[in-house]
């Protein structure tokens, strides 16, 4: 595999409330020899507020960053955040579909964006460019004995025309990675149901209902933890888990971990290196279960070796 | 209002089985089209002698359209393959005769594709309007 190298867009959340995601992404990338070069002086992608104002405006806010990537001489922008990804992909999609639109967007910008950059999620890089063979080579502490359900959220694969990644109704990229790092992945029917998105602040009840349904289904599936790839999903499911319990009358304590954190664990990084301790819901029990699983595996391997001799 | 757009002179050679039927279907479905085109019915697009196209363009046509059955769907099994081969050669040859190859188009429309026919006519007519009237040529054959 030739060395992979991309322009990296962390996004606003990954700078603050979702620092864990940024840190674990960079560490995992490092181990997998994926070079991530942070886009100099990147600005906010505009997220969902921008497109409620105007699509031209929203595309321009996103495209400022794409133009910088062009200037860097790179052809791919990689971001871990699906919300940012969606903003970039839609800008590229709309601009390439309609030349007039493209011109208008560029008239709002200091430096024009000439459509020479595509946007990908870091998950897509892991799944398609790095591949499960290369991931499995780095696994030294497989996550034996734990059930993890992957929660994709809305925007990673939808709408399919724009996202162009994985299956829009039954995505398997995270499933595959989780299996590759040794976890057991039970059937999970809420992979794609919306968590309530950005309405946490303004419409808390909506979020605690939707996120509550997701947690409930995850637990019914026998999950010990939920894997996520989105800072907003993480926030809704983890930070707001107590609000969910209060509003919905549940008593859930299920860790919500970034897929990159789980990979990092399997690559032998410590929980604190991966900032797992920075989450709201404690992962201690989950981590213990992994250790136990590992020990049991070692024991049974030893036994089988000695019985062979 | 701006002045009326002058009609272009466009000839269409349509095979009886597919495209002529497609144009009928468009009619039956009332799919509105520009009025510039005059259709000449031929049994098969393979009947269209490239010379017809040249003669039409030389004697004053602004555009010529040939439309036949989709590949593999020819009523005469392979007529449209012949047509395609000949007309592709023609298209490459037109510039040497001083004719803009964009004045000639070859396409496929089946009998059920009324909507497609509407699009083909609309697009081609637009294309010819954009090119403007064909430059006057010295007429050799007539007179």
């Amino acid at each position: 595999m030739s060395k992979l190298s991309f322009a990296y867009y962390p996004g606003c959340s990954l700078e603050s409330s979702a620092k864990e995601y940024d840190v674990s992404t960079r560490k995992v990338a490092d181990i997998l020899k994926v070079e991530l070069i942070e886009i100099p002086d990147w600005s906010c992608c505009g997220a969902s507020p921008a497109h409620t104002v105007d699509h031209l405006f929203a595309s321009a806010v996103a495209a400022r960053n794409l133009a910088i990537v062009e200037e860097m001489g790179r052809d791919t922008l990689v971001t871990p955040c699906p919300e940012c990804l969606s903003a970039f992909k839609k800008a590229i999609y709309n601009m390439s579909k309609d030349d007039g639109f493209k011109k208008k967007v560029n008239s709002l910008l200091d430096k024009p964006f000439n459509l020479n950059v595509e946007a990908k999620s870091f998950l897509q890089i892991l799944y398609e460019d790095v591949g499960k063979e290369n991931i499995s080579k780095k696994v030294i502490k497989p996550l034996i004995g734990v059930n993890i359900v992957p929660y994709y959220g809305c925007l990673l694969t939808r709408p399919p025309d724009v996202a162009q990644f994985d299956d829009p109704e039954n995505p398997i990229s995270m499933d595959t990675i989780l299996e590759t790092i040794g976890a057991n992945v039970p059937y999970f029917s809420y992979k794609l149901e919306c968590c309530g998105a950005a309405y946490g602040v303004t419409k808390r009840r909506i979020v605690t209902k939707l996120s509550g349904d997701i947690l409930k289904t995850a637990i019914e599936s026998g999950a010990d933890a939920v894997a996520v790839a989105c800072p907003l999903c993480q926030q809704n499911l983890d930070l707001r888990q107590d609000q969910i319990n209060r509003d919905q009358g549940f008593d859930f304590h299920i860790p919500i971990l970034y897929i990159t954190q789980l990979m990092g664990l399997s690559f032998g990084l410590s929980a604190s290196e991966l900032m797992i301790d920075k989450h709201n819901v404690k992962s201690d029990h989950f981590l213990e279960k992994i250790e136990k699983g590992l020990k049991e595996k070692e024991k049974s391997e030893k036994e089988s070796i000695s019985s062979k001799n | 209002m701006a002045e009326e757009k002058k009609e272009a002179k466009i000839v269409g050679f349509l095979c009886n089985w597919c495209s002529y039927g497609g144009a009928d279907t468009a009619g039956v479905s009332r799919f509105k089209q520009p009025t510039d085109l005059r259709i000449i019915r031929v049994p098969c697009s393979g009947r269209v002698d490239p010379l017809f196209v040249v003669k039409a363009l030389e004697s004053g046509a602004d555009g010529v359209l040939v439309s036949g059955c989709h590949p593999r769907d020819c009523h005469y099994s392979e007529g449209n393959f012949y047509a395609r081969r000949r007309l592709e050669v023609l298209k490459r040859f037109l510039p040497f005769m001083g004719i803009d190859p964009n004045r000639f188009e070859y396409t496929w429309v089946s009998a059920s594709e009324g909507q497609r026919w509407q699009q083909v006519v609309t697009k081609f007519t637009e294309q010819i309007h954009n090119l403007g009237p064909a430059p006057k040529r010295e007429e050799k054959s007539d007179r």
Binding site: N170, Y187 | Y82, A111, S112
Partner: protein
């Protein structure tokens, strides 16, 4: 020449957007035109009489009618002029309805266009020549392709009418989809009970020659004289010996073979007779599952067969038959629901298709007619039917309605209640399409008497919760989201074109629509004819249709063949190529080009070698004409001169 021009109003269809009077006036000034008029409905009896009178009074020797498409009325008017003593080819039509009045809104531009088209038609008719058809003998055998209910009906009607029928069916048994069904709407009679006797009749009729497990390899010729090559696929059992005793099936150790008849819900043996009522009732080996073929050892069936019918070395065989007409009755296929990811893409065992459900309901099916759901063989209590799965769905490329699923859903829901009295069925639907006789009443009965709950809304997603299937849909009448926990979900998968339909159409030289269904000559007036003379359509191959309609079309196609064959001689179309022997330089280009091998060389009385057209073989495509360097071979009625005259008439007004 004396030419008459007749401009039709078609009520307001033409006159509404074309100034027909002006067109008629203008036409008077065209060369050779001596008479021009307009009329309200030219194709009506008085309209035709007016043409005939004008021919006589004005001594016309050429007629142009400007009206609808020649595909609609060319033959009508040809007969009209013929009755007045004119040769039928001294006639031309200008299409000012489909190509003018219906597609343009600007009356002035339309009128100008109509005038141009009439001028072009006049220019052409001036160069027309009287043509005279030749007669040729007809082979009165008929080929029926497809042995579903439509094809069987067509075959029986033809055979009863005294024709020899060759019936080709690609499966090992005839019967088509109907043989798989349990009961049929709207009368709920047992499908195989009414179909079985018909199948036996087909099998035993002295005028029907049956080729099952066979496919069309090649078709050549033309109406009255087709030659058909049929591939008899190897069954590895000598059917002249096999008695259908079924011993081999009992002993065959390979018991996991895919069973297409049961739609894969239960396996079968590698050697099998597809179902008890099969016609012919003969065994066949599926080499994909037979151990003799896979591992090279077994041979149990060969040992056990009392009549030594097994032949592992059997090869496909090609036979040739000659027929005069062909009825295509190849039916339909069902939409592949594994393409619909939000419904589980076929991964959930308890989400099945409607045709699989027919097999579950069927007393001779794998569950002996007990409804047991596939995952755990338990009897389901809550059954959800989903309508329009792979129908009326642009995103899946199937925007059309499949015609019969609304009805069979009602039927299956009623049967469900009969089988499991304490069950509850739900139907998610968009519209209920039940326009046949007794159909609406049938659907009402399902709701009123059988308590089937109909929910107006589409299903968005199906997923598993415990051992239930959760169906999430909407009730648009309420304006809300709804969810049901079902034991079994039945998807009413839509009808799509039979696989291989397009390839067969290409062999037959008939057309198909964008979805692969065959196109009839005219949707209202020639519903079972195709544009290829001598080829007729019956049943669902033309578009989804239920059994009554399929059978009706089978009979209609048969009667078309019977009337075609009522004459011993057919007339050939004289619009064929003709060689000017003076001009021909024997370059042979035309001979190489003709797709029908209709051109040969001959020696003229002067000893010159020239090309010569075999009149009965030429189909009139004109490929040769466009190929001939000196312009010696001309397609009559479409000669270079005629077409160029049209072109010129447009530019030199």
């Amino acid at each position: 020449m004396r030419i008459g021009v007749f401009i039709c109003h078609c009520g307001s269809n033409i006159a509404g957007t074309v100034d027909v009077k002006k067109v008629a006036e203008e036409a008077k000034r065209f060369p050779h035109v001596v008479y021009s008029t307009d009329y309200m409905y030219t194709c009506s009896e008085p309209g035709q009489l007016e043409i005939q009178e004008a021919i006589k009074k004005e001594k016309l020797d050429g007629v142009v009618v400007a009206s609808c498409s020649p595909r609609m009325h060319e033959n009508t008017f040809r007969r009209t002029v013929e009755k007045a003593g004119l040769n039928r080819y001294m006639f031309e039509m200008a299409n000012i309805r489909e190509h003018v009045s219906w597609v343009g809104v600007d009356k002035e531009a339309n009128t100008k266009k109509a005038i141009d088209l009439v001028r072009m038609a006049v220019a052409k008719v001036t160069l027309n020549q009287p043509l005279f058809p030749k007669s040729f003998k007809v082979n009165k055998n008929v080929l029926v392709i497809g042995g579903g209910v439509a094809g069987m009906q067509a075959a029986l009607d033809c055979a009863d009418g005294g024709l020899k029928v060759i019936l080709v069916e690609k499966n090992p048994s005839i019967g088509g989809k109907m043989a798989k069904l349990d009961k049929t709407f709207p009368t709920i009679d047992c499908s195989i009970c009414i179909l079985g006797p018909k199948m036996v009749d087909v099998g035993q009729h002295e005028n029907i020659k049956l080729y099952t497990y066979s496919e069309i390899e090649e078709i050549s010729g033309y109406v009255g004289n087709y030659e058909v090559k049929i591939r008899k696929k190897a069954t590895y059992v000598d059917w002249t010996k096999c008695t259908g005793c079924g011993l081999c099936m009992e002993k065959c150790p390979s018991k996991k073979a895919f069973d297409p008849f049961n739609e894969g819900i239960a396996p079968t043996t590698a050697i099998n007779i597809p179902f008890p009522q099969a016609i012919p009732k003969k065994a066949k080996i599926d080499p994909n599952y037979c151990r003799q073929f896979i591992k090279g050892k077994c041979g149990v069936c060969a040992k056990i067969c009392p009549v030594q019918a097994i032949d592992y070395e059997m090869q496909d065989e090609i036979v040739t038959e000659k027929v005069g007409a062909i009825i295509v009755a190849t039916g339909y296929s069902l939409f592949d629901h594994t393409k619909i990811k939000e419904y589980g893409a076929g991964k959930y065992l308890d989400v099945i298709t409607s045709i699989q459900y027919e097999r579950l309901l069927n007393a001779s099916g794998p569950t002996s007619g007990h409804i047991l759901r596939p995952s755990d063989n338990k009897e389901p209590k809550t059954i959800v039917f989903v309508a329009c799965v792979g129908s009326r769905d642009k995103s899946l490329g199937v925007p059309y309605c499949s015609n019969f699923c609304c009805m069979y859903i009602a039927k299956q829901a009623i049967l469900t209640k009969d089988h499991i009295p304490d069950s509850q069925s739900y139907v998610f639907y968009m519209d209920i399409r039940a326009p046949g006789k007794g159909y609406e009443e049938f659907v009402r009965r399902a709701q009123e008497e059988y308590g089937v709950k109909y929910i107006r809304g589409r299903v968005s997603r199906i997923f598993k919760r415990g051992d239930k299937m959760v169906v999430r849909g909407s009730d648009t009448l309420l304006g809300t989201q709804v969810e049901l926990e079902a034991d079994l979900v039945v998807l009413a998968t839509g009808a799509i074109a039979e696989e291989g339909a397009r390839e067969l159409a290409e062999k037959l030289r008939i057309s198909y629509d964008p979805y692969g269904f065959y196109i009839e000559s005219h949707p209202k007036l020639r519903p079972v004819e195709t544009n290829t003379a001598g080829v007729f359509l019956a049943g669902a191959c033309q578009g989804p249709k239920d059994i009554p309609a399929s059978v009706g079309q089978g009979s209609a196609a048969a009667s078309k063949v019977l009337s075609l064959f009522s004459k011993d001689l057919l007339e050939s179309d004289p619009q064929i190529a003709h060689v000017n022997e003076m001009l021909c330089v024997d370059c042979k280009k035309c001979i190489q080009t003709c797709p029908y091998g209709a051109i040969e060389e001959k020696k003229t009385p002067m000893g010159k070698i020239v090309a010569s057209v075999i009149e009965t073989v030429c189909q009139g495509c004109g490929l040769c004409t466009a190929t001939c360097p000196p312009g010696a071979i001309q397609l009559q009625q479409f000669t270079d001169n005629q077409l160029l005259a049209e072109v010129k008439a447009f530019f030199h007004a």
